[in-house]
Symmetry: C2
Subunit: 320 residues, 2 copies
Protein backbone atom coordinates (compact mmCIF):
# COMPACT_ATOMS: atom_id res chain seq x y z
CA UNK A 1 0.00 0.00 0.00
CA UNK A 2 2.62 2.50 1.12
CA UNK A 3 4.96 1.46 -1.70
CA UNK A 4 2.34 2.26 -4.31
CA UNK A 5 1.58 5.64 -2.77
CA UNK A 6 5.27 6.45 -2.51
CA UNK A 7 5.81 5.54 -6.16
CA UNK A 8 2.88 7.79 -7.18
CA UNK A 9 4.25 10.66 -5.13
CA UNK A 10 7.69 10.31 -6.73
CA UNK A 11 6.18 10.17 -10.21
CA UNK A 12 4.13 13.27 -9.42
CA UNK A 13 7.16 15.14 -8.04
CA UNK A 14 9.49 13.91 -10.79
CA UNK A 15 12.32 14.73 -8.42
CA UNK A 16 13.72 13.84 -5.03
CA UNK A 17 15.66 16.31 -2.92
CA UNK A 18 16.04 18.73 -5.81
CA UNK A 19 17.41 16.11 -8.22
CA UNK A 20 15.32 14.92 -11.16
CA UNK A 21 14.51 11.22 -10.97
CA UNK A 22 15.92 9.37 -13.96
CA UNK A 23 14.76 5.86 -13.20
CA UNK A 24 12.66 3.92 -10.72
CA UNK A 25 12.52 0.19 -10.01
CA UNK A 26 9.64 -1.29 -8.07
CA UNK A 27 10.29 -4.63 -6.44
CA UNK A 28 7.49 -6.49 -4.72
CA UNK A 29 6.56 -10.06 -3.82
CA UNK A 30 3.27 -9.47 -5.66
CA UNK A 31 2.84 -7.83 -9.07
CA UNK A 32 2.82 -4.05 -8.64
CA UNK A 33 1.12 -1.56 -10.89
CA UNK A 34 3.51 0.76 -12.64
CA UNK A 35 2.43 4.36 -12.09
CA UNK A 36 1.25 6.04 -15.27
CA UNK A 37 2.46 9.42 -16.48
CA UNK A 38 6.01 8.96 -15.24
CA UNK A 39 8.50 11.27 -16.93
CA UNK A 40 11.21 8.71 -16.26
CA UNK A 41 11.72 4.99 -16.80
CA UNK A 42 9.90 2.74 -14.36
CA UNK A 43 10.44 -0.98 -14.21
CA UNK A 44 8.56 -3.38 -12.02
CA UNK A 45 9.68 -6.79 -10.94
CA UNK A 46 8.20 -9.53 -8.84
CA UNK A 47 10.66 -11.07 -6.43
CA UNK A 48 11.07 -12.20 -2.85
CA UNK A 49 13.83 -10.05 -1.34
CA UNK A 50 14.79 -12.92 0.93
CA UNK A 51 15.60 -15.19 -2.04
CA UNK A 52 19.24 -15.37 -3.15
CA UNK A 53 19.95 -13.02 -6.04
CA UNK A 54 16.79 -10.95 -5.75
CA UNK A 55 18.47 -8.03 -4.01
CA UNK A 56 21.48 -8.15 -6.34
CA UNK A 57 19.20 -7.97 -9.39
CA UNK A 58 17.32 -5.04 -7.91
CA UNK A 59 20.58 -3.16 -7.52
CA UNK A 60 21.64 -3.60 -11.15
CA UNK A 61 20.79 0.03 -11.90
CA UNK A 62 22.70 1.25 -8.82
CA UNK A 63 19.89 3.33 -7.35
CA UNK A 64 20.97 6.34 -5.32
CA UNK A 65 18.01 5.93 -3.00
CA UNK A 66 16.46 2.67 -1.83
CA UNK A 67 13.19 2.54 0.07
CA UNK A 68 13.01 -0.78 1.90
CA UNK A 69 9.38 -1.25 2.89
CA UNK A 70 9.06 -4.96 2.19
CA UNK A 71 7.72 -6.85 5.17
CA UNK A 72 5.51 -9.62 6.35
CA UNK A 73 2.95 -7.73 8.47
CA UNK A 74 2.40 -8.21 12.18
CA UNK A 75 -0.43 -10.75 12.14
CA UNK A 76 1.30 -12.95 9.62
CA UNK A 77 4.73 -12.67 11.27
CA UNK A 78 3.12 -13.79 14.51
CA UNK A 79 1.33 -16.70 12.83
CA UNK A 80 4.34 -17.84 10.78
CA UNK A 81 7.55 -17.40 12.71
CA UNK A 82 9.78 -18.74 9.94
CA UNK A 83 8.30 -16.57 7.23
CA UNK A 84 8.50 -13.44 9.38
CA UNK A 85 12.17 -13.93 10.22
CA UNK A 86 12.98 -14.97 6.67
CA UNK A 87 11.45 -11.92 5.00
CA UNK A 88 11.76 -9.27 7.68
CA UNK A 89 15.20 -10.17 8.98
CA UNK A 90 16.97 -12.21 6.29
CA UNK A 91 15.44 -10.11 3.51
CA UNK A 92 16.70 -6.89 5.06
CA UNK A 93 20.12 -8.37 5.62
CA UNK A 94 20.31 -9.73 2.07
CA UNK A 95 19.50 -6.29 0.71
CA UNK A 96 22.14 -4.58 2.83
CA UNK A 97 24.73 -7.25 2.06
CA UNK A 98 23.97 -6.94 -1.65
CA UNK A 99 24.66 -3.21 -1.39
CA UNK A 100 27.99 -3.66 0.34
CA UNK A 101 28.99 -6.31 -2.19
CA UNK A 102 28.65 -3.78 -5.02
CA UNK A 103 31.74 -1.94 -3.83
CA UNK A 104 33.42 0.87 -5.73
CA UNK A 105 32.24 3.45 -3.21
CA UNK A 106 28.58 2.65 -3.83
CA UNK A 107 26.80 3.92 -0.70
CA UNK A 108 23.13 4.60 -1.38
CA UNK A 109 20.64 6.20 0.94
CA UNK A 110 18.54 3.39 2.41
CA UNK A 111 15.24 4.38 3.99
CA UNK A 112 13.90 1.56 6.13
CA UNK A 113 10.28 1.56 7.23
CA UNK A 114 10.36 0.51 10.84
CA UNK A 115 7.43 0.68 13.20
CA UNK A 116 6.31 1.80 16.63
CA UNK A 117 5.76 -1.94 17.15
CA UNK A 118 9.40 -2.05 18.30
CA UNK A 119 8.13 -0.75 21.65
CA UNK A 120 6.40 -2.81 24.30
CA UNK A 121 4.96 -2.26 27.75
CA UNK A 122 5.48 -1.00 30.36
CA UNK A 123 5.57 2.42 28.67
CA UNK A 124 6.50 5.85 29.97
CA UNK A 125 3.89 8.61 29.46
CA UNK A 126 5.50 9.54 26.17
CA UNK A 127 8.06 7.27 24.54
CA UNK A 128 11.21 9.13 23.53
CA UNK A 129 13.83 8.09 20.99
CA UNK A 130 16.18 6.93 23.76
CA UNK A 131 13.60 4.48 25.10
CA UNK A 132 14.59 0.84 24.65
CA UNK A 133 12.75 -1.20 22.04
CA UNK A 134 11.07 -4.16 23.74
CA UNK A 135 8.76 -5.60 21.13
CA UNK A 136 5.75 -7.67 22.04
CA UNK A 137 5.44 -9.16 18.58
CA UNK A 138 7.85 -11.00 16.31
CA UNK A 139 7.15 -8.30 13.72
CA UNK A 140 8.34 -5.65 16.17
CA UNK A 141 11.41 -7.72 17.03
CA UNK A 142 12.27 -8.10 13.35
CA UNK A 143 11.91 -4.37 12.75
CA UNK A 144 14.10 -3.59 15.76
CA UNK A 145 16.71 -6.01 14.42
CA UNK A 146 16.54 -4.36 11.00
CA UNK A 147 17.19 -1.01 12.65
CA UNK A 148 20.29 -2.36 14.39
CA UNK A 149 21.77 -3.77 11.20
CA UNK A 150 20.93 -0.60 9.27
CA UNK A 151 22.66 1.50 11.94
CA UNK A 152 25.69 -0.79 12.07
CA UNK A 153 26.14 -0.80 8.30
CA UNK A 154 25.68 2.99 8.24
CA UNK A 155 28.27 3.45 10.97
CA UNK A 156 30.66 1.32 8.93
CA UNK A 157 30.07 3.55 5.89
CA UNK A 158 28.55 0.74 3.81
CA UNK A 159 25.20 2.46 3.38
CA UNK A 160 23.69 5.78 4.35
CA UNK A 161 20.66 4.54 6.21
CA UNK A 162 17.76 5.92 8.14
CA UNK A 163 14.95 4.01 9.83
CA UNK A 164 11.63 5.77 10.26
CA UNK A 165 9.37 4.23 12.86
CA UNK A 166 5.97 4.65 11.32
CA UNK A 167 2.89 5.26 13.43
CA UNK A 168 -0.12 3.10 12.67
CA UNK A 169 -1.21 4.26 9.24
CA UNK A 170 -4.79 5.43 9.21
CA UNK A 171 -7.04 5.56 7.21
CA UNK A 172 -5.62 2.65 5.26
CA UNK A 173 -7.44 2.30 1.93
CA UNK A 174 -8.61 -0.86 0.22
CA UNK A 175 -9.17 -4.25 1.74
CA UNK A 176 -7.87 -5.26 5.16
CA UNK A 177 -4.41 -6.81 5.40
CA UNK A 178 -3.44 -9.24 8.14
CA UNK A 179 -2.27 -6.57 10.55
CA UNK A 180 -3.99 -6.74 13.94
CA UNK A 181 -4.28 -2.95 13.73
CA UNK A 182 -6.65 -3.18 10.76
CA UNK A 183 -9.73 -2.12 12.71
CA UNK A 184 -8.32 1.36 13.37
CA UNK A 185 -8.76 2.01 9.65
CA UNK A 186 -11.79 -0.13 8.92
CA UNK A 187 -13.99 1.60 11.51
CA UNK A 188 -13.52 4.78 9.47
CA UNK A 189 -13.17 3.45 5.93
CA UNK A 190 -15.97 0.92 5.89
CA UNK A 191 -18.72 3.22 7.26
CA UNK A 192 -17.62 5.99 4.88
CA UNK A 193 -18.16 3.49 2.10
CA UNK A 194 -21.55 2.38 3.40
CA UNK A 195 -20.34 -0.87 4.87
CA UNK A 196 -20.37 -2.28 8.36
CA UNK A 197 -17.14 -2.41 10.37
CA UNK A 198 -16.25 -4.39 13.46
CA UNK A 199 -14.68 -2.71 16.48
CA UNK A 200 -12.97 -5.45 18.52
CA UNK A 201 -11.67 -3.21 21.35
CA UNK A 202 -12.92 -0.63 23.81
CA UNK A 203 -13.40 2.99 22.76
CA UNK A 204 -10.89 3.97 25.45
CA UNK A 205 -8.02 2.43 23.52
CA UNK A 206 -5.45 5.10 22.68
CA UNK A 207 -2.96 4.77 19.86
CA UNK A 208 -0.56 6.69 17.60
CA UNK A 209 -1.65 7.54 14.06
CA UNK A 210 -0.56 9.23 10.85
CA UNK A 211 -2.17 9.29 7.43
CA UNK A 212 -0.74 7.42 4.45
CA UNK A 213 0.05 10.84 2.96
CA UNK A 214 2.07 11.78 6.05
CA UNK A 215 3.84 8.39 5.97
CA UNK A 216 4.88 8.94 2.36
CA UNK A 217 6.09 12.36 3.44
CA UNK A 218 8.24 10.78 6.16
CA UNK A 219 9.83 8.41 3.65
CA UNK A 220 10.55 11.15 1.14
CA UNK A 221 11.95 13.43 3.83
CA UNK A 222 14.14 10.60 5.17
CA UNK A 223 15.46 10.07 1.64
CA UNK A 224 16.60 13.66 1.30
CA UNK A 225 17.60 14.58 4.85
CA UNK A 226 21.23 15.40 5.60
CA UNK A 227 21.93 12.28 7.67
CA UNK A 228 24.94 13.81 9.42
CA UNK A 229 22.44 15.61 11.67
CA UNK A 230 21.28 12.23 12.95
CA UNK A 231 24.58 11.71 14.73
CA UNK A 232 24.86 8.26 16.25
CA UNK A 233 21.12 7.55 15.96
CA UNK A 234 19.77 6.27 12.67
CA UNK A 235 16.26 5.38 13.91
CA UNK A 236 13.62 7.92 14.80
CA UNK A 237 10.00 7.58 15.80
CA UNK A 238 7.87 9.61 13.44
CA UNK A 239 5.43 12.27 14.60
CA UNK A 240 1.81 11.25 14.84
CA UNK A 241 -1.46 11.90 16.53
CA UNK A 242 -2.27 10.26 19.86
CA UNK A 243 -6.02 9.56 19.71
CA UNK A 244 -8.56 7.25 21.29
CA UNK A 245 -11.03 5.14 19.38
CA UNK A 246 -13.74 7.42 20.85
CA UNK A 247 -11.97 10.39 19.26
CA UNK A 248 -11.81 8.50 15.98
CA UNK A 249 -15.53 7.87 16.13
CA UNK A 250 -16.29 11.50 17.00
CA UNK A 251 -14.35 12.58 13.93
CA UNK A 252 -16.23 10.03 11.82
CA UNK A 253 -19.51 11.46 13.14
CA UNK A 254 -18.44 14.95 12.02
CA UNK A 255 -17.95 13.76 8.47
CA UNK A 256 -20.36 10.87 7.99
CA UNK A 257 -23.00 11.61 10.61
CA UNK A 258 -24.73 9.23 12.99
CA UNK A 259 -25.60 7.05 10.03
CA UNK A 260 -21.93 6.23 9.52
CA UNK A 261 -21.26 5.70 13.22
CA UNK A 262 -24.15 3.21 13.41
CA UNK A 263 -22.27 1.00 10.95
CA UNK A 264 -19.63 0.29 13.60
CA UNK A 265 -20.49 -2.96 15.29
CA UNK A 266 -18.95 -3.47 18.75
CA UNK A 267 -17.74 -7.04 18.91
CA UNK A 268 -15.04 -7.44 21.57
CA UNK A 269 -12.26 -9.83 20.57
CA UNK A 270 -10.09 -10.99 23.47
CA UNK A 271 -7.14 -11.84 21.23
CA UNK A 272 -7.04 -8.47 19.53
CA UNK A 273 -7.64 -6.67 22.84
CA UNK A 274 -4.65 -8.44 24.34
CA UNK A 275 -2.46 -7.56 21.37
CA UNK A 276 -3.56 -3.93 21.31
CA UNK A 277 -3.03 -3.67 25.06
CA UNK A 278 0.67 -4.10 24.35
CA UNK A 279 0.81 -1.21 21.90
CA UNK A 280 2.20 2.23 22.63
CA UNK A 281 -0.14 5.15 23.10
CA UNK A 282 1.95 8.28 22.99
CA UNK A 283 5.39 9.47 21.92
CA UNK A 284 7.79 12.33 22.37
CA UNK A 285 9.00 12.91 18.81
CA UNK A 286 10.68 16.29 19.25
CA UNK A 287 13.80 15.09 17.45
CA UNK A 288 11.85 14.13 14.33
CA UNK A 289 9.88 17.38 14.49
CA UNK A 290 13.11 19.38 14.76
CA UNK A 291 14.33 17.57 11.65
CA UNK A 292 11.22 18.56 9.71
CA UNK A 293 9.06 15.43 9.81
CA UNK A 294 5.36 16.39 9.94
CA UNK A 295 2.12 14.53 10.72
CA UNK A 296 -1.53 15.46 11.25
CA UNK A 297 -2.72 17.43 14.27
CA UNK A 298 -6.26 16.01 14.52
CA UNK A 299 -8.25 12.97 13.51
CA UNK A 300 -10.55 15.25 11.49
CA UNK A 301 -7.52 16.05 9.37
CA UNK A 302 -6.70 12.36 8.97
CA UNK A 303 -10.23 11.66 7.71
CA UNK A 304 -10.13 14.68 5.40
CA UNK A 305 -6.95 13.32 3.83
CA UNK A 306 -8.62 9.95 3.34
CA UNK A 307 -11.51 11.65 1.58
CA UNK A 308 -9.18 13.70 -0.63
CA UNK A 309 -6.78 10.92 -1.51
CA UNK A 310 -8.92 7.83 -1.57
CA UNK A 311 -12.60 8.21 -1.77
CA UNK A 312 -12.57 8.91 -5.48
CA UNK A 313 -10.52 5.79 -6.06
CA UNK A 314 -12.62 3.40 -3.99
CA UNK A 315 -14.57 1.37 -6.50
CA UNK A 316 -17.45 0.45 -4.25
CA UNK A 317 -20.49 2.46 -3.25
CA UNK A 318 -20.07 5.32 -0.86
CA UNK A 319 -22.52 7.08 1.38
CA UNK A 320 -21.11 10.50 0.57
CA UNK B 1 37.66 -17.91 29.27
CA UNK B 2 34.29 -17.40 30.95
CA UNK B 3 33.03 -20.76 29.67
CA UNK B 4 35.92 -22.58 31.34
CA UNK B 5 35.39 -20.77 34.61
CA UNK B 6 31.67 -21.45 34.49
CA UNK B 7 32.27 -25.14 33.86
CA UNK B 8 34.68 -25.28 36.83
CA UNK B 9 32.18 -23.55 39.08
CA UNK B 10 29.43 -26.00 38.07
CA UNK B 11 31.72 -28.97 38.64
CA UNK B 12 32.65 -27.57 42.05
CA UNK B 13 29.00 -26.96 43.01
CA UNK B 14 27.79 -30.24 41.52
CA UNK B 15 24.36 -28.65 41.41
CA UNK B 16 22.46 -25.78 39.88
CA UNK B 17 19.49 -24.16 41.58
CA UNK B 18 19.21 -26.95 44.12
CA UNK B 19 19.21 -29.73 41.52
CA UNK B 20 22.16 -32.04 41.16
CA UNK B 21 23.82 -31.81 37.76
CA UNK B 22 23.68 -35.13 35.93
CA UNK B 23 25.49 -34.23 32.75
CA UNK B 24 27.35 -31.36 31.14
CA UNK B 25 28.28 -30.80 27.48
CA UNK B 26 30.89 -28.24 26.53
CA UNK B 27 30.74 -26.96 22.98
CA UNK B 28 33.43 -24.66 21.68
CA UNK B 29 35.00 -23.70 18.37
CA UNK B 30 38.37 -24.58 19.90
CA UNK B 31 39.15 -27.70 21.93
CA UNK B 32 38.14 -27.14 25.54
CA UNK B 33 39.62 -28.78 28.58
CA UNK B 34 37.21 -31.00 30.44
CA UNK B 35 37.18 -30.05 34.13
CA UNK B 36 38.61 -32.76 36.34
CA UNK B 37 36.91 -34.10 39.45
CA UNK B 38 33.39 -33.84 38.03
CA UNK B 39 30.86 -36.01 39.85
CA UNK B 40 28.81 -36.18 36.66
CA UNK B 41 29.42 -36.96 33.00
CA UNK B 42 31.12 -34.22 31.01
CA UNK B 43 31.54 -34.36 27.27
CA UNK B 44 33.37 -31.84 25.18
CA UNK B 45 32.93 -31.24 21.51
CA UNK B 46 34.53 -28.92 19.00
CA UNK B 47 32.03 -27.30 16.67
CA UNK B 48 31.08 -23.97 15.14
CA UNK B 49 27.60 -23.17 16.41
CA UNK B 50 26.88 -21.32 13.17
CA UNK B 51 27.41 -24.46 11.09
CA UNK B 52 24.32 -26.50 10.16
CA UNK B 53 23.74 -29.37 12.54
CA UNK B 54 26.10 -28.20 15.28
CA UNK B 55 23.36 -26.85 17.51
CA UNK B 56 21.14 -29.88 16.94
CA UNK B 57 23.95 -32.22 17.93
CA UNK B 58 24.61 -30.21 21.07
CA UNK B 59 20.98 -30.61 22.07
CA UNK B 60 20.97 -34.38 21.75
CA UNK B 61 21.02 -34.74 25.55
CA UNK B 62 18.16 -32.21 25.95
CA UNK B 63 19.93 -30.00 28.48
CA UNK B 64 17.66 -28.22 30.94
CA UNK B 65 19.98 -25.22 31.00
CA UNK B 66 21.98 -23.82 28.11
CA UNK B 67 24.62 -21.15 28.58
CA UNK B 68 25.21 -19.48 25.23
CA UNK B 69 28.48 -17.61 25.54
CA UNK B 70 29.92 -18.32 22.11
CA UNK B 71 30.93 -15.19 20.29
CA UNK B 72 33.43 -13.58 18.03
CA UNK B 73 34.84 -10.81 20.24
CA UNK B 74 34.57 -7.10 19.54
CA UNK B 75 37.88 -6.50 17.78
CA UNK B 76 37.44 -9.47 15.50
CA UNK B 77 33.77 -8.75 14.78
CA UNK B 78 34.79 -5.25 13.76
CA UNK B 79 37.61 -6.52 11.54
CA UNK B 80 35.59 -9.32 9.93
CA UNK B 81 31.98 -8.26 9.39
CA UNK B 82 30.90 -11.56 7.84
CA UNK B 83 32.38 -13.71 10.57
CA UNK B 84 30.89 -11.55 13.32
CA UNK B 85 27.37 -11.72 11.90
CA UNK B 86 27.73 -15.40 11.04
CA UNK B 87 28.78 -16.50 14.51
CA UNK B 88 27.18 -13.90 16.75
CA UNK B 89 23.86 -13.56 14.93
CA UNK B 90 23.37 -16.68 12.80
CA UNK B 91 24.93 -18.90 15.46
CA UNK B 92 22.56 -17.60 18.12
CA UNK B 93 19.61 -18.00 15.82
CA UNK B 94 20.62 -21.52 14.83
CA UNK B 95 20.82 -22.49 18.47
CA UNK B 96 17.40 -21.07 19.29
CA UNK B 97 15.84 -22.57 16.17
CA UNK B 98 17.36 -25.95 17.00
CA UNK B 99 15.70 -25.73 20.42
CA UNK B 100 12.28 -24.95 19.04
CA UNK B 101 12.63 -27.74 16.49
CA UNK B 102 12.98 -30.29 19.30
CA UNK B 103 9.33 -29.85 20.20
CA UNK B 104 7.50 -32.02 22.71
CA UNK B 105 7.34 -29.19 25.24
CA UNK B 106 11.12 -28.86 25.41
CA UNK B 107 11.70 -25.35 26.74
CA UNK B 108 15.12 -25.03 28.33
CA UNK B 109 16.48 -22.08 30.24
CA UNK B 110 18.83 -20.24 27.88
CA UNK B 111 21.29 -17.83 29.47
CA UNK B 112 22.76 -15.53 26.85
CA UNK B 113 25.89 -13.53 27.60
CA UNK B 114 25.21 -10.11 26.20
CA UNK B 115 27.35 -7.07 26.83
CA UNK B 116 27.29 -3.42 27.83
CA UNK B 117 28.65 -2.92 24.29
CA UNK B 118 25.00 -2.76 23.20
CA UNK B 119 25.04 0.87 24.41
CA UNK B 120 26.54 3.78 22.56
CA UNK B 121 26.92 7.52 23.10
CA UNK B 122 25.48 9.94 23.92
CA UNK B 123 24.93 8.43 27.37
CA UNK B 124 22.87 9.55 30.34
CA UNK B 125 24.73 9.85 33.67
CA UNK B 126 23.76 6.30 34.53
CA UNK B 127 22.34 3.97 31.88
CA UNK B 128 19.16 2.24 33.03
CA UNK B 129 17.57 -0.90 31.66
CA UNK B 130 15.02 1.12 29.69
CA UNK B 131 17.74 2.98 27.80
CA UNK B 132 17.86 2.16 24.11
CA UNK B 133 20.73 0.03 22.85
CA UNK B 134 22.65 2.00 20.22
CA UNK B 135 25.81 0.01 19.64
CA UNK B 136 28.93 1.57 18.28
CA UNK B 137 30.45 -1.73 17.26
CA UNK B 138 29.21 -4.62 15.14
CA UNK B 139 29.78 -6.84 18.18
CA UNK B 140 27.40 -4.67 20.20
CA UNK B 141 24.85 -4.72 17.38
CA UNK B 142 25.03 -8.51 17.18
CA UNK B 143 24.57 -8.85 20.93
CA UNK B 144 21.58 -6.47 20.85
CA UNK B 145 20.07 -8.53 18.03
CA UNK B 146 20.63 -11.73 19.99
CA UNK B 147 18.78 -10.16 22.92
CA UNK B 148 15.80 -9.34 20.70
CA UNK B 149 15.53 -12.86 19.30
CA UNK B 150 15.97 -14.38 22.76
CA UNK B 151 13.17 -12.18 24.11
CA UNK B 152 10.89 -12.91 21.17
CA UNK B 153 11.38 -16.67 21.43
CA UNK B 154 10.86 -16.47 25.19
CA UNK B 155 7.65 -14.47 24.74
CA UNK B 156 6.45 -17.14 22.34
CA UNK B 157 7.15 -19.83 24.93
CA UNK B 158 9.79 -21.57 22.79
CA UNK B 159 12.59 -21.05 25.30
CA UNK B 160 12.93 -19.59 28.77
CA UNK B 161 15.64 -17.06 28.08
CA UNK B 162 17.55 -14.41 29.93
CA UNK B 163 20.25 -12.13 28.58
CA UNK B 164 22.82 -10.79 31.02
CA UNK B 165 24.71 -7.75 29.82
CA UNK B 166 28.15 -8.35 31.19
CA UNK B 167 30.37 -5.50 32.30
CA UNK B 168 33.93 -5.52 31.01
CA UNK B 169 35.47 -8.52 32.73
CA UNK B 170 38.53 -7.60 34.73
CA UNK B 171 41.09 -8.90 35.58
CA UNK B 172 40.95 -11.28 32.64
CA UNK B 173 43.57 -14.04 33.10
CA UNK B 174 45.88 -15.52 30.51
CA UNK B 175 46.89 -14.06 27.21
CA UNK B 176 45.10 -11.13 25.56
CA UNK B 177 42.20 -11.86 23.20
CA UNK B 178 41.29 -9.53 20.34
CA UNK B 179 38.91 -7.39 22.39
CA UNK B 180 39.75 -3.70 22.29
CA UNK B 181 39.12 -3.66 26.03
CA UNK B 182 42.09 -5.93 26.68
CA UNK B 183 44.25 -3.21 28.23
CA UNK B 184 41.88 -2.82 31.21
CA UNK B 185 43.02 -6.26 32.32
CA UNK B 186 46.57 -6.26 31.05
CA UNK B 187 47.59 -3.13 32.98
CA UNK B 188 46.82 -5.10 36.15
CA UNK B 189 47.65 -8.66 35.13
CA UNK B 190 50.94 -8.07 33.37
CA UNK B 191 52.60 -5.95 36.11
CA UNK B 192 51.43 -8.41 38.77
CA UNK B 193 53.26 -11.06 36.76
CA UNK B 194 56.39 -8.97 36.38
CA UNK B 195 55.75 -7.98 32.78
CA UNK B 196 55.30 -4.65 31.07
CA UNK B 197 51.81 -3.56 29.97
CA UNK B 198 50.74 -0.89 27.52
CA UNK B 199 48.11 1.68 28.46
CA UNK B 200 46.72 3.11 25.21
CA UNK B 201 44.24 5.59 26.76
CA UNK B 202 44.17 8.38 29.30
CA UNK B 203 43.96 7.64 33.03
CA UNK B 204 40.70 9.61 33.09
CA UNK B 205 38.86 6.95 31.12
CA UNK B 206 35.99 5.59 33.20
CA UNK B 207 34.42 2.21 32.57
CA UNK B 208 32.21 -0.53 34.08
CA UNK B 209 33.87 -3.62 35.53
CA UNK B 210 33.20 -6.94 37.19
CA UNK B 211 35.53 -9.82 38.01
CA UNK B 212 35.39 -13.15 36.16
CA UNK B 213 34.12 -14.65 39.43
CA UNK B 214 31.24 -12.17 39.54
CA UNK B 215 30.47 -12.82 35.87
CA UNK B 216 30.22 -16.55 36.51
CA UNK B 217 27.96 -15.71 39.42
CA UNK B 218 25.71 -13.68 37.08
CA UNK B 219 25.41 -16.60 34.69
CA UNK B 220 24.64 -19.11 37.42
CA UNK B 221 22.08 -16.79 39.00
CA UNK B 222 20.44 -16.17 35.62
CA UNK B 223 20.19 -19.93 35.15
CA UNK B 224 18.30 -20.41 38.38
CA UNK B 225 16.25 -17.22 38.67
CA UNK B 226 12.47 -17.42 38.52
CA UNK B 227 12.12 -15.71 35.13
CA UNK B 228 8.48 -14.74 35.71
CA UNK B 229 9.81 -11.85 37.82
CA UNK B 230 11.46 -10.42 34.70
CA UNK B 231 8.07 -9.58 33.22
CA UNK B 232 8.35 -8.31 29.67
CA UNK B 233 12.08 -7.67 29.89
CA UNK B 234 14.48 -10.54 29.32
CA UNK B 235 17.70 -8.48 29.18
CA UNK B 236 19.31 -6.84 32.16
CA UNK B 237 22.55 -4.95 32.61
CA UNK B 238 24.59 -6.61 35.30
CA UNK B 239 25.92 -4.76 38.34
CA UNK B 240 29.50 -3.63 38.19
CA UNK B 241 32.00 -1.13 39.42
CA UNK B 242 32.38 2.23 37.70
CA UNK B 243 36.08 3.03 37.93
CA UNK B 244 38.68 5.13 36.14
CA UNK B 245 42.00 3.84 34.88
CA UNK B 246 43.59 6.05 37.57
CA UNK B 247 41.57 4.17 40.19
CA UNK B 248 42.68 0.88 38.66
CA UNK B 249 46.30 1.98 38.91
CA UNK B 250 45.86 3.16 42.50
CA UNK B 251 44.50 -0.28 43.40
CA UNK B 252 47.44 -1.91 41.61
CA UNK B 253 49.83 0.27 43.65
CA UNK B 254 48.21 -0.98 46.88
CA UNK B 255 48.91 -4.57 45.97
CA UNK B 256 52.01 -4.50 43.79
CA UNK B 257 53.67 -1.27 44.88
CA UNK B 258 55.32 1.38 42.76
CA UNK B 259 57.41 -1.34 41.15
CA UNK B 260 54.28 -2.82 39.54
CA UNK B 261 52.92 0.57 38.48
CA UNK B 262 56.21 1.41 36.76
CA UNK B 263 55.62 -1.56 34.42
CA UNK B 264 52.69 0.30 32.83
CA UNK B 265 53.91 2.04 29.71
CA UNK B 266 51.75 4.95 28.51
CA UNK B 267 51.49 4.64 24.76
CA UNK B 268 48.43 6.51 23.45
CA UNK B 269 46.68 4.73 20.59
CA UNK B 270 44.26 6.93 18.64
CA UNK B 271 42.25 3.97 17.36
CA UNK B 272 41.71 2.44 20.77
CA UNK B 273 41.02 5.86 22.30
CA UNK B 274 38.30 6.47 19.72
CA UNK B 275 36.73 3.06 20.37
CA UNK B 276 36.87 3.44 24.15
CA UNK B 277 35.41 6.93 23.90
CA UNK B 278 32.21 5.27 22.67
CA UNK B 279 31.94 2.97 25.68
CA UNK B 280 29.58 3.44 28.58
CA UNK B 281 30.90 4.61 31.93
CA UNK B 282 28.18 4.07 34.48
CA UNK B 283 24.90 2.21 34.91
CA UNK B 284 21.83 2.14 37.05
CA UNK B 285 21.38 -1.59 37.69
CA UNK B 286 18.84 -1.47 40.51
CA UNK B 287 16.66 -4.05 38.77
CA UNK B 288 19.48 -6.60 38.62
CA UNK B 289 20.45 -5.82 42.22
CA UNK B 290 16.84 -6.32 43.36
CA UNK B 291 16.92 -9.70 41.64
CA UNK B 292 20.03 -10.73 43.53
CA UNK B 293 22.84 -10.20 41.02
CA UNK B 294 26.05 -9.09 42.80
CA UNK B 295 29.36 -7.56 41.69
CA UNK B 296 32.40 -6.08 43.44
CA UNK B 297 32.31 -2.77 45.31
CA UNK B 298 35.91 -1.66 44.75
CA UNK B 299 38.79 -2.26 42.38
CA UNK B 300 40.85 -3.51 45.34
CA UNK B 301 38.33 -6.32 45.62
CA UNK B 302 38.61 -7.06 41.88
CA UNK B 303 42.39 -7.37 42.17
CA UNK B 304 42.09 -9.51 45.31
CA UNK B 305 39.84 -11.91 43.40
CA UNK B 306 42.38 -12.08 40.60
CA UNK B 307 45.08 -12.96 43.10
CA UNK B 308 42.91 -15.61 44.76
CA UNK B 309 41.57 -17.20 41.59
CA UNK B 310 44.38 -16.83 39.09
CA UNK B 311 47.78 -16.07 40.37
CA UNK B 312 48.49 -19.62 41.43
CA UNK B 313 47.53 -20.83 37.97
CA UNK B 314 49.61 -18.38 35.96
CA UNK B 315 52.58 -20.35 34.71
CA UNK B 316 54.96 -17.45 34.28
CA UNK B 317 57.07 -15.67 36.88
CA UNK B 318 55.36 -13.36 39.30
CA UNK B 319 56.69 -10.52 41.36
CA UNK B 320 54.68 -11.50 44.39
Amino acid sequence: MLGGKLASRLVQDGALGGSAISQMSLLDAAPSVSPSDATFAVDTRVADISEPGAAEAALATRPDVIFHLAAVVSGEAEADLDKGYRVNLDGTRRLLDAIRTVGGGYRPRVVFSSSIAVFGPPFPDAIGDEHAPAPRTSYGAQKAIGELILADYSRRGLIDGMAVRLPTICVRPGTPNRAASGFFSSIIREPLNGREAILPVSENVRHWFASPRAAVGFLVHAATLETSVLGERRSLTMPGLSATVAEQIAALREVGGEEAVRLIRHEPDETIMRIVDGWPRNFDTRRALELGFRAEASFDEIIRIYLEDELGTETRETTL
